[in-house]
C-alpha cells in the first residue's frame, strides 16, 4: 500500500513536470508579453530600451532555457511576482485557495449527501414515477449551464427578493460568521445543483446493481430490517464504484467552480486563474494552474487509497 502510494507520488511529480513545461510554453503564446505591456504604458521607450529589457527579463532566450530557469526558481519556492496583485505569487495564492476549498468542499458534501439519498430512493423503486422524476431532475442538473443558473439565482434572490448578497465573500466592515455564510449560499447552491445530477445517476446505478446481488437476498431472507439491508449491506458495495467516479469528477468540480466564482465575484482560485489569464499575469496564471492540477491529482490518489480501504478484495502492491 505504501509502496503503491509512493509510486503514484513519483508519477504525479513526473506528470507535473511535463504539464508545467506545456503550460509554460502555452502561456508564452498568449497575446502580449510583459515588455509589450511596458511599451504600451510608456510610448517614449526606444528600441534599445526594449532590447535591454528583454535581456533583463530573459525573454530573448530560447524557450527551454527560460523554462529551466523558471523551474529552478519555482523549486526553491520563488514563484515570481504577480502584476495583478502587486504582490509575490506565493502570497496571493493561499487565501484564494482557502476560499475555493471552502466553496468546493461544502458543495461537494452537500451534493454527495443529496445524491446518496436521491440515488438510493430511485434505485429502490426502479421504473416508478418517483424514479422518473428523480431522473428528470438529474438531467436538468447536468444540462443547465452553470453561468446561467448563477445568473438566474442572482436575479431571483439577490436582485429580485433581496434576500442574499450577489457577490463577494463578506460585507466590508461586517465580516462575522453569519455574514460569510450568507455570501456562500448562492455560489454553493449553484455548484451543488450542477453537480448533484451526475452523482445521483452514479449512485442510482451502483445501488441498483448492489441491490440485485445474492447477499442482499440472503440478508432479506434472514429477516434483516430494510434500513439494515440498505445501509449495512447494499451501501457498502455501492460506495466502491461511486468513489472512483467522485474522484474523477474533481476536475469537473474545479471547472464548475471557475464559472461559479467568476459569476459571483467570489475570490477563489477559479476566478484568480481566469483573471490572471485575461490580465496577462503569467507568473500567477502558471502557478495557479499547476496548483489546481496538483490538487486534482492528489484527490485522485486519495480516492484510489479509499478504494482499497472500502473494498477488502483490492490490494495494491
Amino acid at each position: 500500500m505504501i509502496r503503491f502510494a509512493a509510486i503514484r507520488l513519483v508519477e504525479i511529480a513526473a506528470l507535473l513536470a511535463l504539464m508545467s513545461f506545456i503550460i509554460y510554453g502555452l502561456i508564452g503564446l498568449m497575446p502580449g508579453d510583459p515588455i509589450d505591456l511596458m511599451r504600451s504604458a510608456d510610448p517614449r521607450m526606444s528600441a534599445e530600451d526594449v532590447a535591454r529589457l528583454k535581456a533583463v527579463y530573459g525573454v530573448d532566450r530560447p524557450l527551454v532555457a527560460r523554462y529551466l530557469a523558471w523551474a529552478g526558481q519555482a523549486l526553491q519556492g520563488e514563484l515570481g511576482y504577480s502584476r495583478l496583485f502587486a504582490a509575490p505569487v506565493s502570497a496571493a495564492l493561499p487565501p484564494r485557495l482557502g476560499n475555493s476549498l471552502l466553496l468546493m468542499g461544502s458543495s461537494f458534501v452537500l451534493a454527495l449527501a443529496l445524491a446518496l439519498v436521491l440515488g438510493t430512493i430511485a434505485a429502490r423503486h426502479p421504473e416508478s414515477r418517483l424514479d422518473d422524476a428523480i431522473n428528470l431532475f438529474c438531467f436538468a442538473g447536468v444540462s443547465i449551464p452553470t453561468f446561467w443558473l448563477a445568473l438566474v439565482l442572482i436575479l431571483a434572490f439577490a436582485a429580485g427578493l433581496g434576500w442574499l448578497p450577489a457577490s463577494g465573500v463578506a460585507t466590508a466592515g461586517a465580516g462575522d460568521l453569519a455574514d460569510r455564510l450568507r455570501h456562500l449560499v448562492l455560489p454553493v447552491a449553484t455548484l451543488t445543483l450542477t453537480s448533484v445530477g451526475g452523482y445521483t445517476r452514479y449512485v442510482r446505478a451502483a445501488m441498483h446493481e448492489a441491490l440485485a446481488q445474492d447477499h442482499i437476498r440472503t440478508a432479506r431472507a434472514k429477516g434483516a430490517s430494510e434500513a439494515r439491508v440498505i445501509f449495512r449491506h447494499a451501501m457498502r458495495s455501492a460506495l466502491i464504484p461511486v468513489t472512483t467516479i467522485l474522484a474523477l469528477s474533481f476536475g469537473g468540480l474545479v471547472s464548475g467552480a471557475l464559472v461559479t466564482e467568476t459569476m459571483f465575484a467570489y475570490p477563489g482560485m477559479g476566478k484568480l486563474i481566469f483573471d490572471a489569464v485575461m490580465g496577462n499575469d503569467y507568473n500567477l496564471a502558471l502557478a495557479a494552474l499547476l496548483l489546481a492540477a496538483v490538487t486534482a491529482m492528489l484527490a485522485n490518489l486519495a480516492a484510489d487509497l479509499a478504494y482499497a480501504w472500502l473494498d477488502p478484495r483490492v490490494t495494491y502492491r
Binding site: 443547465i144 438566474v152 495557479a288
Partner: protein, 276 residues
Amino acid sequence: MLVVIAVLSFAGPPVGALLGADPNAVDLLNRYAGSSWDHPLGTDELGRDMLLRLLAGGRVSLTIGVAAALTAAAFGTLVGLVAGYVGGWTDRIAMRATDGVIALPLLPLLIVLAALDLAKLGVPAAIAQSDEISLMRIVALAVLVGWTTAARLVRGATLVTRQRDFVRAARSLGASVPHILWVHILPNVMAPLVVATTLSVGEVILLESVLSFLGLGIQPPLASWGTMLSNAQQMITTAPLLAIYPGMMIFLTVIACNLLGDALQRRLDRGAVMHA
C-alpha cells in the same frame, strides 16, 4: 423537441424573410421593445430581433455541437481501436491520457488555449481573427475534451471482440489489420458509440456556451447563445429577459440531447437483454 429546435434554427433565414428582418439588423429607435407582432420576443439593446437572433445563434451552437461531437467520436474511435488491438505500451499511454483528460480541471486549461494568439504561431493575422477560425478553435477544444469517452468505449469493446472466434478466423485467413478493425470490430461497438456521441453533443454545446460567455468563444457580431448571454449580462437589471431566453434555449437543447441519449441507451440495454 430537439428536432423542433434544429428545424427552426436552420429555417432561420426563410423565417427572417417572412418577418422582413435580419438578425444583425440594428434598429436603434426600437431598443428593448417588448413582445409584438413584428418582434415576437421583443428586441435587444441594439434593437435587433430577439427571436431571429435566437434562431441564428442556435444554428451556430448546434453546428458546433454536432461537428465537434462527430469529430471527437471519430478521433476517439481511432485511438480506441488502435489501443485495444495493439495493446502493450501504446494502450497504456493512451489510457493514461484519457485518465488525465477526465481527471484534470480542464476548463482553466481551455481558457489558456482559447486565449492563445495564433499569430505568434505564424498564422497570418487576417486568418487568425476570422469567424471560421473562432468556430474551428471551439471545435478543436471540444474534441480535445470529448475524445476520451469514445476511446474508452471502443478500446473495451475491441479487447473483448478481438478474442472472438470470427476475428481469429479472419486473421488466420490473412485479413489485414485495418480490415479486421473496420469490418469485424467496429460494427460491434457502433451502438454504444452512437449513444455516447448523442450525449456529447449536449456537452459540447455547454462548453461552447461557457467559453463564448467568458468572451473566448464565438466573437460578435456572429451570435451564439453563449455570446448573447454574455451581452445580456451587462443589462441584466434593465432587461433580464434578454438573458433568460438564450439560457433557456441552451438548457432545452442540452436536456433534449441528454434525454435522447438516455432513451437510446435504454433501448440498447433492453435489446442486449433480449439477445442474451
